[in-house]
């Protein structure tokens, strides 16, 4: 099944809206793209369009949370995290309000809109904030599980969703809990720690690598903060090297988080696949992934390169 994570978000919000009257949703004039328009249609009194005003949206969400509501605030990841960063810092994280920021259009698979609309730094921006939980679901199944889980988590959460349709990678009976990585397989040669759409790409790379007789593991690190340290330690101990993979800058994202942790606790050779400190550009999503080296082929090459050295 191919479905965009934002589509799954729109659907699960409506389901949750029926169950939980305290859920309210805010958007900043992108509800058709973030799919919060589905909630708006069914619950017009609990949907607040804030216009093109992301800073005000975050503050308003904090105020709603302070009256006991569970606000979901959505817009594109680049605007949610960049335009309203100080508002998230002050009124959400420092004030510890129960605001869920669920942003769509993370990463370069935004495609033709180009760099201005492609968030490649959002994970870094959110991860640096105390009290913030950061989650990047890999597919529609995980998105629904994540959204259902965070409703019952008290405190700030950032969820990054994508624009493009993505294949299903998680099992039907998948249970998500915050801070717990999903281990597809622990390898003895290399372990790949991936997040978001890179999980599916890694899965395909591993098929090729195992045909070559290599034992490569795969871990879906969907919660980037707090990291699943236990799984990371096991992954570092069981294999000779680690490869991280994300549709985000290699500065400040999953790769950084993994390096920060392992360099202190169990140093091993690590390669970070991601956007190499550059902006994105326009183009079809698939071509952009190729352009930035986020493909099955380059992952195979990276893993083999690590084993050689």
């Amino acid at each position: 099944m191919n479905k965009a994570t934002r589509q799954a978000y729109g659907e699960v919000l409506v389901e949750l809206g029926r169950e939980r009257p305290e859920i309210v949703v805010l958007d900043a004039d992108l509800s058709a793209s973030t799919k919060t328009n589905m909630f708006a249609k069914e619950f017009p009194d609990r949907f607040f369009n804030m216009g093109v005003a992301e800073q005000d949206m975050i503050g308003t969400a904090a105020g709603l949370a302070l009256t006991g509501k569970i606000p979901f605030a959505s817009t594109f990841a680049v605007f949610a995290t960049g335009r309203a960063w100080d508002q998230i810092r002050q009124t959400v994280c420092y004030s510890h309000t129960n605001v869920k920021i669920v942003a769509s259009h993370g990463g370069i698979t935004v495609g033709p809109d180009g760099a201005s609309h492609q968030a490649l730094e959002d994970i870094a921006l959110m991860r640096a904030l105390p009290n913030m939980t950061v989650i990047v679901p890999a597919d529609a199944i995980e998105t629904k599980a994540v959204i259902r889980t965070i409703v019952d988590h008290k405190g700030p959460v950032y969820v990054r969703l994508g624009r493009a349709k993505v294949p299903t990678v998680m099992p039907d009976d998948y249970k998500f809990s915050i801070g717990r990585a999903f281990v597809f397989h622990m390898g003895s040669d290399v372990n790949i720690i991936a997040t978001g759409i890179m999980v599916e790409i890694a899965k395909r790379a591993i098929e090729i690598l195992s045909a070559d007789g290599l034992d490569v593991g795969l871990i879906n690190m969907s919660t980037i903060k707090p990291l699943d340290e236990e799984v990371l330690l096991t992954a570092a101990r069981s294999a000779k090297a680690i490869v991280t993979a994300e549709e985000h800058s290699v500065i400040g994202g999953l790769g950084s988080a993994v390096c920060e942790f392992l360099s202190e606790r169990h140093p091993v050779p690590i390669r970070r696949m991601g956007i190499q400190d550059s902006f994105g550009c326009s183009g079809p999503a698939e071509e952009l992934l190729r352009f930035h080296g986020l493909t099955v082929e380059s992952m195979v090459e990276t893993v083999k390169g690590m084993i050689k050295s």
């Binding site: 005003a53 800073q55 503050g59 105020g63 009256t67 509501k69 009124t91 004030s95």
Partner: protein
């Protein structure tokens, strides 16, 4: 302070002379805590004192021993640097014993340099980064309305603060959603850090700006207690739109050496200045 024994709610004070006396005591507390702390914002705490005292003691419902009581009216000090004012009022209202004021700006003190809701129960939201309080107030007003909770929301902003773009986003929101359970006050003291507001970045015509954003606008002398009470009453009577009170004030009000002096924005009184100030305020 007076309290209804049965409900634990504060009694509301309408007597102008009593309110003025509370304001005098609040100013004394502000000056003493700032001098003790050795740093902090004197001018903007004193300019907003009368308005804030009127809101807390003549208008708001709250229970100091149960700060998160759902029926409480909400107060947001958007100009968070006036924290000493909020703390003095909260001490006066009975949220905590007055000697806690001695810990202003100390390590692990509930009285952080700018209000922190996680450190001090009764502070609704952490402020200090200017321009954000009105958005939060709007969110509260929306949430209260969804719950059919009749509580009201008050928010004090600085006149320099309203140079922040987010304030005008929030101004649009409050009027778009017809938040008549919200009353904002602009502490129009004419000064900010780098000089006079009109020289740094002119905000005039400030009444027209709020009017054109769809607000009910009331201009008053922000140190005339009767005018403040009348304006707050008018705000409560106004339906279908939010109200903003543009309160003409004097920065540093009540202490002649601090009044209308840009230098006293972010400095605390020296001990000898405190002595003089307390004399002027009739507290020796």
């Amino acid at each position: 302070m007076d309290m209804d024994i049965a409900t634990g709610e504060k009694k509301k004070i309408r007597d102008v002379r009593i309110l003025e006396e509370i304001a005098r005591r609040v100013r004394v507390k502000i000056l003493k805590m700032l001098t003790k702390a050795g740093s902090g914002h004197t001018g903007g705490s004193l300019s907003a004192t009368d308005v804030a005292v009127a809101i807390y003691f003549s208008k708001m419902d709250y229970k100091p021993e149960d700060p998160s009581w759902e029926g409480r009216d909400r107060f947001i000090l958007s100009k968070g640097h006036a924290a000493p004012l909020l703390y003095a009022i909260m001490a006066e209202a009975g949220y905590f014993p007055p000697d806690v004021l001695d810990n202003l700006r100390q390590i692990e003190s509930p009285l952080q340099g700018h209000p922190c809701c996680k450190s001090l129960p009764g502070v609704e939201v952490s402020t200090g980064s200017l321009g954000q309080g009105l958005s939060v107030a709007n969110g509260m007003a929306l949430g209260l309305r969804l719950d059919k909770n009749p509580a009201r929301v008050y928010c004090i902003l600085g006149d320099g603060e309203i140079q922040e773009g987010q304030v005008w986003e929030a101004a649009m929101t409050a009027s778009h959603y017809r938040l008549d359970n919200l009353c904002a006050v602009v502490d129009n003291n004419g000064l900010q850090i780098d000089g006079r507001v009109k020289d740094v970045m002119n905000i005039e015509p400030v009444m027209d700006k709020w009017l054109s954003f769809g607000w009910h606008v009331i201009g008053i002398d922000g140190h005339n207690m009767q005018e403040i009470l009348d304006a707050l009453d008018e705000a409560e009577r106004t339906k279908g739109k939010p109200t903003v009170i543009i309160a003409r004030t004097t920065k540093g009000k009540g202490v002649s050496i601090f009044e209308d002096r840009v230098e006293y924005h972010g400095v605390s009184p020296k001990p000898e200045e405190l002595e003089r100030a307390l004399k002027e305020l009739g507290d020796e």
